[in-house]
């Protein structure tokens, strides 16, 4: 059921994960979304400008600043999960406490452009990796112990492309 709060929490809706292998054309769309994200975040952060980025995007939500640093921390982990799944058989990945990480002191102290630049370079490496993955490798899996789910790299690609655009939606809410 959709509520007004849902529109703020999920500005682009919830993620729909594929249950069958993606086609090459579908993958290309998601990889492009990952490639485009850093520039879109930078544009949204510029639009929201300094002061608004200190505000939460919804009551009790993270500030724009926390959203951007969270994206850098999370995508570092998601990038690592792809590497683990490509080098080990169905590896168990390491969850982290995203709320506690967002409260660590560097999140308040680091200028926002530092994490935007980090995302830009991280996504460059990530996209080169994604472009080299073979059809067989897209069906490789990893296990997430907190959610008790096994995901294919196809499913992870869709989820992580969504994750970036989901938080981009939060920044765009702040820019309004």
């Amino acid at each position: 059921m959709s509520t007004p709060t849902d529109d703020l929490r999920f500005p682009i809706g919830r993620v729909q994960l594929p249950t069958a292998p993606l086609t090459a054309a579908e993958r290309a769309v998601y990889i492009q979304q990952i490639a485009d994200l850093p520039a879109q975040l930078t544009a949204a952060a510029r639009q929201a400008s300094g002061e608004r980025l200190q505000l939460p995007y919804r009551p009790d939500g993270w500030t724009g600043r926390q959203v951007i640093h969270h994206l850098a921390d999370t995508h570092v982990n998601l990038y690592s999960r792809f590497r683990l799944a490509l080098t080990e058989d169905n590896p168990t990945v390491r969850p982290f406490d995203e709320a506690a990480w967002a409260a660590l002191p560097d999140v308040a102290a680091t200028p926002i452009p530092v994490s935007l630049a980090l995302l830009d370079s991280l996504h460059q490496r990530w996209v080169v990796l994604l472009q080299h993955i073979t059809d067989a490798q897209w069906q490789r899996t990893f296990y997430h112990p907190r959610y008790d789910t096994t995901s294919t790299l196809d499913q992870a690609l869709v989820q992580y492309a969504w994750h970036g655009r989901h938080h981009l939606g939060h920044l765009r809410l702040l820019a309004q």
Binding site: H69, A72, D73, V76, N77, Y79, S80, R83, L84, L86, T87, E88, V93, R94, F96, D97, A100, W101, L104, P105, D106, A109, T110, V114, S115, A117, L118, D120, S121, L122, Q124, R125, W126, V128, L129, H132
Partner: protein, 184 residues
């Protein structure tokens, strides 16, 4: 039993092996290591610039990684280390996630991507890491994590010393490569 020949050791360990502290560091000692972490990205970028993309495709020793692989490895390794600090600061003696550094360095982006992305990644990552390190309290430096492959529990003080060494260790490989490349 694993061993390395004396003739190989100076190539493998151009700055020697790491010396890990067994007691808490003093603030002045930590400041030295934090400064080494802060300076590394610019030093790597300067070394890569001197070598150029072509020479970065050469291994720094027979059978060793290429310069390019060294730089991509540093980005991958340090983003994992930064995560280990965050885990140790937000959980009690967490078990961290090891990874296979040899196979990671053989993934296609690590062998083919230009080094610029990883140099920029290290720049951004180290900026955040250094700001985190400068905010740690005395008590937090004694927080620990457990490495399930080495079966070792490390304090953040020990990890700081290890990763300040790790960056300079691989910087030493790039400097060796400069010497190797000049003799070709």
């Amino acid at each position: 039993m694993a061993f390395t020949t004396p003739s190989d050791d100076h190539l493998r360990y151009p700055i020697g092996r790491p010396q890990l502290p067994t007691t808490p560091l003093m603030p002045a000692e930590r400041a030295v290591y934090i400064q080494q972490i802060a300076e590394l990205p610019a030093q790597l970028a300067a070394a890569a610039e001197r070598l150029g993309e072509e020479r970065l495709r050469l291994p720094y020793r027979p059978g060793g990684w290429t310069g390019r692989q060294v730089i991509h490895h540093l980005a991958d390794s340090h983003l994992n280390s930064h995560c280990r600090f965050r885990l140790a600061l937000t959980e009690d003696n967490p078990t961290i996630r090891p990874y296979d550094e040899a196979t990671w360095a053989e993934l296609p982006d690590a062998t083919t991507a230009p080094v610029a992305a990883s140099l920029a990644l290290l720049q951004g990552l180290h900026s955040r890491w250094v700001l985190l390190l400068r905010h740690l309290s005395e008590a937090q430096w004694q927080r620990t994590f457990y490495h399930p492959e080495n079966k070792r529990t490390s304090t953040l003080d020990q990890t700081l010393a290890l990763y300040a060494w790790h960056g300079r260790h691989h910087l030493g490989h790039l400097e060796l490569l400069n010497t190797v490349a000049r003799t070709l």
